[in-house]
């Protein structure tokens, strides 16, 4: 079964633009350097294009450790500073269980169960939902 090893390829993760949203699909096992490169690429692309949302599909990601978790949280934080919202979509159940047990609940990260649901969240006209925390409701 040793030929089942899929060769990890370092490099760029493509960032696609769909209207007002940048779509990123993470797949397989990411190198640390690839994740960091993506973080940089996204900041530059948001700033250049002025998109309002970033959608990161992680349904093809088998594990999220504290390094990748931190990169995702930082992507969301930097996007927010650049006036864009970030949604992480499609986390596998085993990954969610592991992250919770690891103690990494990433409270600043918005999530959706699927890319479609994430896109819906990002393209709503009035953002009813704020990633920065609960909205102050007047009594």
């Amino acid at each position: 079964m040793s030929d089942a090893y899929s060769r990890p390829v370092p490099g760029h993760v493509p960032v696609l633009r769909l209207g007002d949203v940048l779509l990123v699909t993470l797949q397989g096992d990411l190198h640390d350097s690839t994740a960091q490169q993506l973080q940089q690429d996204l900041a530059e692309t948001i700033s250049r294009t002025g998109v309002r949302g970033v959608l990161i599909d992680i349904s093809g990601v088998e594990i999220v450790d504290s390094f990748l978790g931190r990169v995702l949280a930082e992507i969301a934080a930097q996007a927010k500073l650049l006036a864009a919202r970030t949604v992480v979509a499609g986390m596998r159940p085993a990954v969610a269980i592991t992250l919770a047990e690891l103690g990494l609940t990433l409270p600043g990260l918005s999530t959706a169960l699927s890319t479609e649901a994430g896109m819906e969240l990002l393209t709503q006209q009035t953002p009813a939902y704020r990633p920065g925390g609960p909205r102050q409701e007047s009594p």
């Binding site: 090893y5 931190r70 047990e101 690891l102 990494l104």
Partner: protein, 146 residues
Amino acid sequence: MHTAAGVEACLPIRSDMDLVWVRQHVRQAAAQLGFGLVDQTKLVTAASELARNTLVHGGGGQMEATHLSSGGAQGLRLAFTDEGPGIADLDQALSDGYTSGDGLGMGLSGARRLVHDFEIDSTPGDGTTVRVTCWAARPPRPREEA
């Protein structure tokens, strides 16, 4: 019948490329020993945290994977060894939120929660070894002692 082939290995940890190999090996070995998907994910995540510690804090080292068998239960033991500066205060290093670098401080304490058995040996100036063990189903009952 489970065999050690494809499970036992000694892998170098010298670059972030090696972290990818470590994760792939652990996933494959755990799958071969009959670990369920959630247990595989937990063990691979723990291995990733520990291998990164070996690389970042230990200056590189190795991981040795060993197949364990006890009363029909299949286990996997992973030993991460480096010859780095060692850890002066183990209790502090194992506490949640403690970070010596730029991580979230969940590496050691988090990895410990993801496995059935966790041992750490560290001598300042001499290096660190972390051994973790996971069993495919439930851990076998401890030996009865008088």
